[in-house]
């Protein structure tokens, strides 16, 4: 059985022949800083959800529940747009 990712088994020309597959590409490993949520401070204004460029803010029943760390690249925009009076999101080094 040849390797499913071997040259005999993949589409020619470097084509990606299915759509919507960026979900399979885990970009979380790119992070240097990780966003951390303080749920007690969060007022669920959803500014972070609006601005996150990687759709990595997880909302359940209109409540901010945390981050999709498989895809969050650690850009820090969520922490930046979190209202200063609230400051519910902190960026911490990945190794901390």
């Amino acid at each position: 059985m040849s390797d499913p990712t071997g040259w005999k088994n993949i589409p020619i020309g470097g084509l990606i022949v299915e759509s919507g597959n960026s979900h399979d590409y885990k970009t979380g490993s790119w992070r240097t800083y990780r966003p951390v949520l303080d749920e007690e401070k969060c007022i669920n204004c959803h500014q972070c959800w609006i601005y996150c460029p990687d759709s990595s803010i997880m909302i359940v029943d209109e409540k901010m529940t945390g981050f999709d760390y498989d895809h969050c690249k650690g850009c820090g925009i969520c922490a930046e747009v979190c209202p200063p009076k609230v400051a519910a999101i902190k960026m911490v080094l990945e190794n901390e």
């Binding site: 990712t5 071997g6 040259w7 993949i10 589409p11 020619i12 020309g13 470097g14 084509l15 990606i16 022949v17 299915e18 759509s19």
Partner: protein
């Protein structure tokens, strides 16, 4: 079948009109310009349904046909020399995206110093680009090659771009009698284009040209190699079908003169035509020699070449371009590489000739055969590389 007198450019322009591509991108460069003039005449007269895109450079011409071919359109462009050089980046991309583009290339010297006349330095530089390369001796052959190229490129096992080359001015601007197929015959022969993930199929979206990097690039190159390995069988199959239609059968190479001659000269392009006269003359004089004309340069027809040249006592190899600092010209290096282990003695001699359109005459070709007689007699090659026709 209609017999008419046409220049090489007019014949190829006519072939393109008969192919009636969905998209043609055009940019002028000598000596290709008249080819597109001819095609544009058919376009202006409403004889083709083509979307003719007049671009601002050859880089754009190749980019335009890459886009249209990915969209699923039968796409063509044509160029020469520096125009081909300006396409360079996209020439490789066309092959690696596996787009069956067909491009006539009118061979011309690369500048500088500036020169608009024939040599093969343009397309020989593109021999590693992943395109199939068919060289043509005369107007009839390039007309035929361009039509066959469509079927070769679009074959489901291949999906590679094909360039059909012919010599600038010597063929492109010279009138010759050509047998033309009818438009219907050409259309029936090339058939309807089969689709491979066309971008215009919006119900099945696909991505062309994503990042490949260390993960997959090597696998995709390996696939290109595999497609090239399958080209000879397809070229042969297409040539057989074409022969049924026209009576003209093209092989990877053509051996002119007695096959068992012990003296062979290798050439491609229009020089093969001149050399044929010399072969006739020498054989009439009782000197048994032949000519091996190479029609398909990429993929390199290794086994066919070995069968044609093993057992020879002297082989002269004509190169209309040089590879500076290398052992010899591109054809020479391929031939020697093929013959490794097949011949005992080193009996090959390289002749670099005709650079920048310097004329090659029958007496000069005869002088090469005279060198080959000496090599056959002595078993020794005095000059491995000779610059034929250059002033000392």
């Amino acid at each position: 079948m209609e017999r008419v007198s046409l220049t090489g450019n007019d014949a190829v322009g006519t072939a393109m009109a008969q192919i009636n591509p969905d998209v043609v991108a055009a940019f002028p460069i000598t000596p290709q310009t008249e080819l597109m003039h001819k095609f544009a005449e058919f376009y202006a007269d409403g004889k083709v349904n083509t979307e003719l895109i007049l671009v601002e450079s050859e880089h754009s011409a190749m980019s335009a046909v890459v886009g249209s071919a990915a969209a699923g359109a039968r796409s063509m462009t044509a160029t020469s020399a520096n125009g081909f050089a300006l396409m360079w980046e996209i020439v490789y991309i066309a092959a690696s995206l596996r787009l069956p583009i067909v491009m006539p290339v009118v061979n011309r010297a690369l500048s500088g110093p500036i020169n608009i006349h024939c040599d093969h330095s343009d397309t020989m530089g593109g021999r590693d680009s992943g395109w199939v390369q068919l060289f043509s001796e005369n107007t009839q052959e390039v007309y035929d090659n361009v039509i066959m190229a469509v079927k070769i490129a679009e074959h489901k096992d291949i999906l590679l771009p094909v360039m059909a080359t012919f010599d600038g001015f010597i063929i492109s601007h010279t009138q010759e009698v050509v047998e033309l197929l009818s438009d219907e015959e050409v259309q029936k022969f090339i058939g309807k284009k089969e689709m491979y993930y066309p971008l215009l199929d919006v119900k099945n979206p696909v991505t062309y040209g994503p990042l490949d990097l260390q993960d997959y690039y090597f696998e995709h190159k390996r696939q290109q190699v595999e497609a090239m390995l399958k080209v000879p069988a397809v070229v042969d199959e297409v040539a057989k079908d074409y022969a049924k239609l026209t009576g003209r059968k093209y092989d990877f190479i053509e051996i002119y003169g007695p096959e068992d001659a012990e003296i062979s000269l290798v050439a491609l392009g229009s020089t093969a035509g001149t050399a044929k006269d010399v072969v006739d003359k020498l054989n009439d004089e009782g000197k048994k020699v032949n000519l091996v004309k190479i029609r398909m340069f990429r993929p390199w027809p290794h086994e066919t070449i070995v069968n044609a040249l093993k057992g020879k006592k002297a082989i002269g190899i004509m190169d209309r371009s040089d590879s500076f600092g290398a052992l010899g010209g591109p054809v020479f290096m391929e031939i020697r590489s093929s013959l490794m282990g097949e011949i005992k003695e080193d009996i090959t001699a390289n002749y670099i000739y005709g650079l920048g359109g310097r004329d090659i005459s029958a007496p000069e070709i005869e002088s090469v055969y005279n060198d080959l007689f000496e090599i056959a007699e002595t078993g020794k090659v005095k000059n491995r590389k000779t610059y034929l026709g250059v002033r000392e």
